[in-house]
Symmetry: C2
DNA sequence: AAGCTTGCGACATATTTTGTCGGATGAGAA
DNA sequence: TTCTCATCCGACAAAATATGTCGCAAGCTT
């Protein structure tokens, strides 16, 4: 006879969360794989015994009975989260909630729930205090997330993860009708509130495309493996398709004068490690850094309005000259 | 005699992760609280038995022996993560890593490690594929995080969580020397790469301040409870101190013409639910929305350069007129 | 209706669990 | 040093439990 505790713990780890199920026989096999040669009867008894105290569910509508962990229950976790860990997770929650795709967020939610349960137990008063006392503020304006059809997200993820082809109803931008397409998912890119499926289409088996997942209206996963272009590289794709806003990987030396109050934070949170800052006699900050040529950087510069004067490179300074002209025309 | 399995599971949940420890006597008390009246001897025996198979550590340099879970081990988790859950966590990892304070990130890391372990086991080939095939792209430029002194972050968090006063060495912006201060932590605000401690100072017991935590050089937690101004409200503080960049909560009706390609995404990811978009005959998009007057919104508008023409409110249009003038002067 | 699977009660037995006791050990105080 | 105290740990016996086996019943399939 082996150690019943360890065997039962192992068994509990083998039981999936509802709505999935497992069966006595399955458990017997898996336990046997892990070195516990045990009678099926014993497993039945263990399950019934544990069910009395743990949030286990037994679906006895059919035989064999299907066993699972209650969907909402927190199950077992050892070592338990310590309060600091729990605090950190509850902070992570604040970061993730506005950013992450909703379907995914729901799935990590269970961890946050668990964290909050720990906090509640360790210091029920403090947890509310904490909620009142911590804020994660957005750095930039946040857009509404596009609406997604229930379940679509999950299916696209699964297809991308398992590398399976799909058939999907996809609505192009501006169009009101969706069309059936045969798609080979290659990857996923999340950017701000929009997530894209990177994929190959049957029509053009050479060039991958990206499709915002909120334009999918129906997805069926097929049994066939995805056909990939050889040497497909997601980073490369992202760059060449302007998804990451990078024009090139060439570095240039950036130089500009910033208003002190508008850019003082650059001293402590530099653009990158090549950045140098020097206060000028007129109070402005001369900032120098090696930068890659990205649209995001330009947008960031533009957001300073007249609180920045770009000095170098020439090309960028000219762009700003041009911008000045255009704005003058626009608001004349 | 009770059920040994359940009792042992409960006990395992009571054992902290290293470097924290617990002791036989402590476990006896806590188990007794949970309804397991058990001899101390039995606990010792259980611990030794479980140590053989689980990553438990026993520090036997002193008596009583200190028991803990191995720092790196994954312990027990039931129900086990299913692959989709694991996938989602590994995605959350990509979101959080660049955003979250480093000290915190290390603490949630254990969950990500666990997730990756699950993925490795369930489909070792697919996990690598997934890593190659999913990217979370930054929406805006990201600054380097300021350097923090080891342990400072943890202590400030703990003080803020437990509502305890601290003594700290704090270096003001621009100064090279830090000064000792007596501080009453009230809360925390995370914004982009900078995190702030919101607190009261002994010198001015009326007005809370915010202090970037990377300017703290040493922190000692005191035993005394924080004194708070009555009716302290973090959200209010954040607003009145321009941390959230909100000038006022008054809504105005915003109206502007956007270049189509630059702003097409607004159709699918609107600013808020009041937004209306209409395509003009010249191809531009007329966007209308009720907005609050925030600096962030203005910055976002400015980042469009000449791809936006602000129409209303007048005040905002005038700001842009002014901007056009200033830019013209600057780049003349 | 036969055959199969699965759940479950019963039962005897081997095994484990557990409280108790007493000795060993080591730290700190007198 | 010696004494005291807390703790660990081995031993032991009784009580409780765990386990394999068997047989029956229920429900499904063929």
């Amino acid at each position: 006879m082996g150690n019943p505790t360890l065997r039962q713990i192992t068994m509990l780890e083998l039981i999936p969360r509802a709505p999935q199920k497992t069966y006595a026989k399955e458990l017997k096999d898996k336990l046997s794989n892990r070195g516990y040669e045990i009678d099926e009867r014993t497993i039945q008894r263990d399950l019934v015994a544990l069910e009395r105290t743990l949030p286990l569910r037994c679906d006895d509508r059919d035989k064999p009975y299907g066993w699972s962990w209650a969907e909402k229950g927190i199950g077992i976790q050892a070592p338990a989260m310590d309060p600091i860990e729990a605090l950190t997770l509850s902070l992570a929650e604040q970061y993730l909630e506005p950013l992450m795709p909703t379907a995914n967020y729901k799935r990590v939610r269970i961890f946050f729930d668990r964290a909050n349960a720990v906090l509640k137990e360790s210091s029920p008063k403090l947890i509310n205090r904490w909620r009142d006392r911590v804020r994660v503020l957005p750095e930039m304006i946040r857009f509404k997330k596009p609406k997604l059809i229930e379940g679509i997200e999950d299916q696209l993820y699964r297809a991308a993860f398992e590398g399976l082809q799909i058939k999907a109803l996809y609505r192009k931008r501006g169009e009101t009708q969706s069309a059936l397409r045969h798609i080979h998912p290659l990857g996923l890119v999340m950017k701000g509130s929009i997530n894209y499926l990177i994929c190959m289409m049957d029509e053009d088996a050479e060039h991958p495309r990206y499709m915002p997942i909120h334009r999918f209206e129906q997805v069926t996963i097929l049994d066939e493996k995805v056909k990939e272009p050889k040497n497909f590289n997601l980073d490369e794709f992202v760059h060449t398709n302007n998804l990451s806003f990078e024009f090139s990987k060439d570095l240039y030396t950036f130089k500009a004068l910033f208003d002190y109050t508008a850019a003082a934070h650059l001293v402590e949170t530099p653009l990158n490690s090549t950045q140098a800052v020097k206060r000028q006699t007129d109070g402005r900050l001369l900032v120098t850094a090696r930068m890659t040529d990205t649209l995001q950087f330009e947008q960031w510069l533009k957001s300073f309005g007249s609180d920045v004067e770009v000095l170098a490179p020439k090309k960028l300074r000219n762009k700003f000259k041009q911008l000045a002209k255009e704005l003058s025309n626009q608001y004349k």
